[in-house]
């Protein structure tokens, strides 16, 4: 499977009469976007705002972050959510509006919705402090059930991103990269002297607003399967979850999965990247046992020499992480884990909820319990009303001037456990 990914660099977003991309600026017709969002009768109001890097702006509570992309050929973007499920995605050509994002904001669904600061100390920890963000602030109808509200918010973001992505369909991209993974025997034969490496991608699927979708299928409901890495670049995986903000793998992060991006960089040089084993993090023991067995079976069947494993969330999914690690290692396949740590504010407690002897190699994505001072911002997109209850905050953490103290956990994707950031923890 071969995908051409063209990146159109976006330096700014401005409101205009017509939605289009011109000279690296994304012009957005505000009314059209708001109308699109309000097609959903579960949403009462919608307004748009723009947040730029360096602004004295805070965005919260953030639900999802999405990069606008368009399929120029070969399937449709966000299959099963927005686009048709067939043909499958991951082939043909895709254009991305690189450097800008759609951020969905609004009254809280779950306490696991976080903060993006466009400047100040928290900006160092958040990837979306460096992108130009079109904030879609939604207001749900009174008395909406949380799952219904979550879905309405999720779909609003995806629809807006798809609409904006269309503006890049006929624009000549600034860069054009090609990613290719061949069927298993051809891929193995392509670099016979290099170690065969796979990626075990654990999708958040604990339920109760902790869900992820693959081609529109709730990840709780599938059993581990094989995925071509390029599928993810076309929106085959969509976030629908309210996991702790620091850990949230937003839809943007699925597009930009760092393990896949970096394995492609090493592909043909020191590893033969064979593909992705997609699995989940269900809460039932039988699911954990069955799915870790199947992950190990797939790793063996693919003839892998090594795998990288990432998780989304912490605590309960640590058990899945360790079961996968142990069983894959027992098949003779070398494992490196990527995850973040929660050793308490003083950093002195155990970092993970579970361990296993086979977990000899782990790349840390930082510890989420460390605290930070968040200065007051001139502008708040959304509301500060929930800060004390959002994960990472506590009763009394907000000062009257709007500044507050909180754990890094409250920042969107600050310690994201797929290795996207440079933040790491070490022993002192």
């Amino acid at each position: 499977m071969k995908l051409e990914l063209g990146k159109i660099f976006i330096k700014d977003i401005q409101f205009s009469d017509q939605t289009c991309v011109k000279d690296h600026v994304l012009y957005v017709n505000k009314e059209e976007v708001e109308k699109l969002v309000l097609e959903d009768d579960k949403l009462l109001e919608c307004h748009l705002d723009i947040a730029r890097p360096g602004d004295s702006t805070r965005i919260t509570p953030v639900k999802d972050v999405i990069e606008p992309r368009v399929k120029v050929s070969g399937g449709e973007i966000f299959p099963g959510m927005i686009g048709k499920v067939t043909p499958q995605v991951g082939e043909g050509r895709t254009h991305a509006l690189d450097g800008c994002c759609v951020v969905t904001v609004g009254r809280i669904v779950g306490f696991q919705e976080g903060v993006i600061d466009m400047s100040g100390p928290a900006a160092d920890y958040c990837p979306f402090s460096k992108t130009v963000n079109l904030c879609v602030v939604i207001e749900p109808k009174e008395g909406l059930e949380t799952h219904v509200y979550e879905k309405a918010g999720r779909m609003a973001g995806l629809k807006v991103a798809t609409y904006l992505g269309e503006a890049g369909r006929n624009v000549e991209p600034d860069t054009l990269e090609t990613f290719e993974t061949k069927p298993i025997f051809e891929q193995a034969a392509m670099y016979p002297d290099l170690p065969k490496v796979g990626y075990v991608h654990m999708l958040q699927s604990q339920g109760l607003l902790h869900d992820t979708y693959y081609y529109g299928v709730d990840a709780k409901q599938f059993i581990p399967t094989f995925m071509y890495p390029t599928e993810i670049m076309d929106g085959a995986i969509v976030s629908g979850n309210c996991v702790a903000p620091c850990d949230k793998v937003t839809t943007y992060h699925h597009f930009h999965n760092p393990v896949i991006e970096d394995l492609y960089k090493h592909h043909g040089k020191d590893v033969n990247f064979m593909g992705v084993i997609l699995t989940n993090e269900n809460v039932f023991l039988a699911d954990k046992e069955r799915h870790s067995d199947m992950v190990a079976k797939l790793a063996e069947w693919m003839g892998l020499d090594g795998v990288l494993i990432t998780e989304e969330g912490y605590g309960n999914p640590d058990t899945d992480l360790m079961m996968n690690c142990r069983k894959v290692e027992q098949k003779g396949v070398k494992v490196v884990l990527i995850t973040d740590e929660f050793p308490g504010k003083d950093g002195k407690s155990q970092s993970l909820a579970d361990t296993c002897e086979e977990a000899t190699a782990l790349a840390s994505c930082g510890q989420g319990n460390a605290t930070l001072q968040f200065p007051a911002m001139d502008k708040v997109i959304g509301t500060m009303e929930y800060i004390e209850n959002q994960i990472g905050g506590w009763a009394g953490c907000v000062n009257p001037d709007g500044s507050f103290e909180a754990e890094l956990q409250i920042i969107i994707a600050s310690t994201i456990a797929n290795g996207f950031n440079k933040l790491a923890a070490r022993g002192y």
């Binding site: 160092d124 394995l263 960089k265 590893v271 950093g347 790349a363 933040l423 022993g427």
Partner: protein, 349 residues
Amino acid sequence: MATYKIVHYINQFFAGIGGEEKADIVPEVREGAVGPGTALEKALGEEYEIAATVICGDNYFGENLDTATDTIVEMVKQYEPDVFVAGPAFNAGRYGVACGTICKAVEERLGVPVLTAEYEENPGVDMFRKDVIIVKTGDSAATIRKAVPVMAALVKKMATGEEILGPDIEGYHERGIRVNYFAEERASERAIQMLTKKMKGEEFHTDLPMPKFDRVDPAEPIKDIKHAKLAVVTSGGVVPTDNPDHIESSNATKYGVYSIAGMDTMSPNDFTTIHGGYDRQFVMENPNLVVPLDVLREMEKDGEFGELVNYFCTTTGTGTATGSAAKFGDEIGKRLVEDHVDGVILVST
């Protein structure tokens, strides 16, 4: 005129007073540097002086932990030091524990930064590494020349408030504190590099060594239960109603041993539970639910086992540090062996 004042703690041996035969001397203070303090003072330079040296016998300290700690903290306080240094203790176990204990107390009670130095196998390292910066040394005093410059550098940083960097850079035993930093490369790239090394069988460094759990093999089954002596040990927090030993309801630092001699049942008038981690209501009404004395007495009468030892051991098992739990287990185990107990019913909640 020195800008920064240090108070130094050493034992009787390093003070030149004597060895084992003088290990019971009481704490004393001498003005200025004594023994290894001289080398430290020299390494620190003119801006620093060791204002006083506190000397105490290792046995005295170990046998009078609280009194010795109180006395020494008072002695240190009078000099208002900028930094407090103890040791180096190298591989001397009692000295190492004393250095860790006194450092921890000085920092907690006086708010003065503290430093000691010990060999990695000194028991003081494991006991105090989380609380105190312990410089790495060799296993004997012959390695003092290497340790002194490392200690001096850290004392200077502590005195001036300069940031203390990681254990590998500064030369101290890792405290097990997880601290954030921004790495050169993101975690996905670092993981791939780690994996290529692991696949080749080359050396690699994990960011997080997995903690090793202390696992105990189960004992052999009791061969003759009819004549076996049994005991009950519980983490369910069952104590006499007035909780005479003040066992904590969470993160217990002690355990209790209480008599059941002559009793046929655990009466709610005599016993309660102080456990903070479960709904206590049913156990407060019937403590036999956790210490099943009623059933055990019946079985004892029926000759189903030999006899029940006339006490039970108890603590609270919620939020309790594994370090405390291991210590309780060692002590309880020794006692049960001394009392010829063959089997234990361990009741968790």
